[in-house]
Every structure is written in C-alpha cells, then in structure tokens.
Symmetry: C2
Subunit: 156 residues, 2 copies
C-alpha cells in the first residue's frame, strides 16, 4: 500500500514551490531542503513538467515554479499522474494475469471500488489544503515565514 | 498501490478452501490449481493459520480447511492481517521518517483518511461475497460445480 518515492517527492516539490511563490527555486534548493538526491528530484521535476504542474524559467536567475495555482492542484490528480502501479492484484492487468479464476471471481470489482473510494478522498484536497501551516512549513524548508508579496507574484 | 503477493495468494487460498468445503484440500492442491509455487503457498497457509483463518487437519487424509464460515471472514480483515507495508508515505513511520516538514504538513492526515475509506469498502465484503459464481469458480479450480454436501460439512 505504499506510494512510490516519485509520488512522495512530487508532492513535496509541489508544496515547496507553492511556498516559494515568486521566489527563485531550483531543483538543487528543493533537494537540499528535503535532504533528497538531486538526481531523483530532477526526474520528478521533469515528470511534473510534462504533466503540466510546473514550468521551468530559463536563464541565470531561472528555476522552477508552479504552473497552476495551489488551490487548483488536486492531490488525487498528482497521485494518479505520478503513480504507475495501479494493479492492486494480478488480474487488474489482463496482459500479465495468470489467475485462473479471473472472470467469475468478484475480488477485482471489490478492489476497484476500494481504490475509487481512496482516490475520491484525495480528490477532495488541493495542494493549498496541505499547507495550512504556511509559517511553520516555510521555516522548516528555509523559506522563511513571510507571505509571498502579492504584487510581485507571477501571473499564473 | 499494489498489494503483496502474499495478500493476493491468501485471498485465493481462502476462496479455494471455501469452495472445497469438507473435501480434502492440501497446500499442493491449491498451489497446483493456481499455478503458484508450493513454497509460497505454504508460507501463506502458515500465516493464515496463525491469524486464525485456517486450520490443519493432520494425518494421511489431512489438509487445510477454513476455521470460520466464509460469511464471517471480511476481506478488509484479511488484507489488514496479511499486508505489512501500511506506510503510504515516509512520515507514516516516525522511526524511519526523514521528511523535514512532517508535523506541520497535512499530507499524512489526508492519506490516513484515504486509507480508511479504502479499508471501509473492503470491510463491507466477506469471502462469501467474492464467490457468488460458485459453479464457475469450482470448475476453474478443478473442484467441480457440485455444492458441498451439507450433512458432511465440518462443524465450524
């Protein structure tokens, strides 16, 4: 029942960027703040970019920033986009299934229903909901506790 | 989001025994019917025995049988008893957590709620519910489609 490290790190990276606001944030910064390998974080940033969550600002003062407002990023959507192993039991993947009772057995339907209930909860929360304690989170990530200046915030 | 093979095989073994009823069923029979290694199935049977789902009948005509009625075995209970990795994200395990924002971050609470919703669905179904298509299941497992003779059923 564990999520992959990629999904876990993706949620951390998105939270970091939401807290950073318009301040410069590089893959290096995020990796260092969380004590995670830069290489892993780079791969996660690349996938989040392709999935439309973050964008890269090029140049000397470049870095990463959220492409959408934190209030418009659903936790369920991030988990769906990042996770790859949705085959709870073997028969979920008909190409690889070897179970002889797949078909008459009702287990697949029960697990599909359970998975839908799991994702429905995640869909109720946005990235912004995860970060109600902005001040504490910012301090722990070395981003300070000051709110992002509204006037200078990038328009996205 | 995958379950371990042990949990998957445990559910298959329990279904087999429910279908076999009072007929002799050995680990070998179950492993052969599902095309699974006998060694894996032996480990699963051992764990199910310790958790109180199956019992071993000793002697020449011995084997395994359900210790409880299939209608009294909840899918959620089996999954809880067999799965070991409930740490959806790193901060679920405080002894191993390295995430610096564990505490102020609300992700753990969201995933706990999602996991509870997932298990609540599994708790609504029993082993008996999984096997509505008794005839088809029995034929696929080489157990025939005849119902278990009531008079000879073991009293458990």
């Amino acid at each position: 029942m564990q999520l992959t490290y990629h999904t876990d790190y993706a949620l951390r990276l998105l939270m970091y960027l939401a807290l950073a606001g318009n301040r410069r944030a590089t893959v290096e910064d995020v990796a260092t703040s969380f004590g995670i390998s830069r290489n892993h974080m780079m791969k996660v940033a690349h996938r989040l970019g392709r999935a439309g969550y973050v964008e890269t600002i090029r140049g000397r003062s470049g870095g990463l920033r959220l492409k959408r407002d934190a209030g418009n990023i659903r936790v369920g959507a991030v988990v769906r986009d990042m996770e790859e192993g949705w085959q709870i039991v073997e028969c979920f993947d008909s190409a690889r299934n070897t179970c002889v009772i797949a078909g008459p057995c009702r287990l697949k339907g029960v697990f599909k229903e359970a998975l839908a209930a799991y994702l429905a909860v995640l869909d109720r929360y946005t990235l912004a909901d995860l970060m109600a304690n902005t001040g504490q989170l910012g301090r722990r990530l070395g981003l300070g506790s000051a709110p992002v200046p509204k006037a200078a915030a990038p328009a996205f």
